[in-house]
Amino acid sequence: MAKLTLDDLRKLREEKQKLLEKRDPSNKDAQIIVGMGTCGIAAGAKDTFNAIIDELDARGITHVLVRQTGCMGSCHSEPTVEVVTPDMPSVIYGKVDSGTGKRIVDEHIVNKHMIDNHICDKPSMDIVSEPGK
């Protein structure tokens, strides 16, 4: 891969933007929030974050918001990932390795069902923000 310049990056974005307009804008308000505190990093949250992006890329999903937060207080179950979608209950998944990160995209975001054995908690109401805000 040749070294990209910011101009190249701008062009890639414009190309992608054109494709976007043709696509179904479902999942627009979905948020995937990866816990990226010291505990998350130590448990491999960076790999989880990148695996989630890989899977979104592979499926051509460009609208999902992928955000980061600090420690959510579940250091025993890191990496933790919170998923907020408009039509499903919000959930914090625990022990989300790369493979489980991909499953979050495939099963929760795309197929709309929750992932057994990784449900860890529900988001605390004082830190969760509504999608889009």
């Binding site: 891969m1 990093i41 992006i53 890329d57 992928v66």
Partner: protein
């Protein structure tokens, strides 16, 4: 102990953002047998007593986590550096900011694996906040600089999946170009 040098870097840059820095500079410099890493911020800084306490794994800033009594970021750095023949230097001044500088002898068998800098940088560039983050990377062969503000200005935001994919492609192309 963190698994990779990049994990340490991620932790330190987050410390800077949490310290309210508007500017964080991350310098990753590879020399033939040495690696130098600097994380410099203009955040709130620490006085001498707080700086000394920050090396204690059972110290964490009051108020950050109500019931938590550990703070492992800097202790993990010191442990790794000590175990692998490197050096770390932390300078801080209240109101001015903190600079963490450390190096490794890359020939030392106990040096942790480096990790993936472009994927780490993506995570750091995409973390929330209004701050500027500048990554300066140099090797004997070449160098590059990436600014968070430039990525945001070019892509619009760094949180929609489509933009994150492009930003990662950009970061990887910079890093791969150095290795070749």
């Amino acid at each position: 102990m963190h698994a990779t040098v990049c994990d340490i870097i991620a932790d330190l840059v987050q410390n800077s953002v949490e310290a309210g820095a508007s500017l964080v500079e991350l310098i990753v410099q590879t020399e033939p047998d040495k690696m130098n890493i600097t994380v410099a911020d203009n955040g709130k800084g620490m006085d001498e007593a707080t700086l000394a306490k920050s090396m204690d794994p059972f110290y964490s800033e009051a108020g950050k986590h109500d019931h938590r009594r550990v703070g492992l970021g800097l202790p993990l750095l010191m442990q790794t550096v000590e175990a692998s023949g490197g050096k770390a230097d932390i300078r801080s001044e209240p109101g001015k900011g903190t600079t963490v500088e450390f190096n490794f002898d890359t020939r030392n068998i106990d040096m942790p694996p480096f990790g993936d800098l472009s994927d780490t940088a993506l995570v750091l560039m995409a973390s929330r906040g209004e701050h500027e983050l500048i990554l300066r990377r140099t090797t004997p062969a070449d160098a590059y600089t990436v600014r968070r503000s430039e990525l945001i200005a070019t892509l619009g935001d760094l949180e929609t999946s489509g933009n994150l994919i492009l930003a990662r492609q950009y970061m990887r192309s910079q890093e791969q170009n150095l290795i070749q």
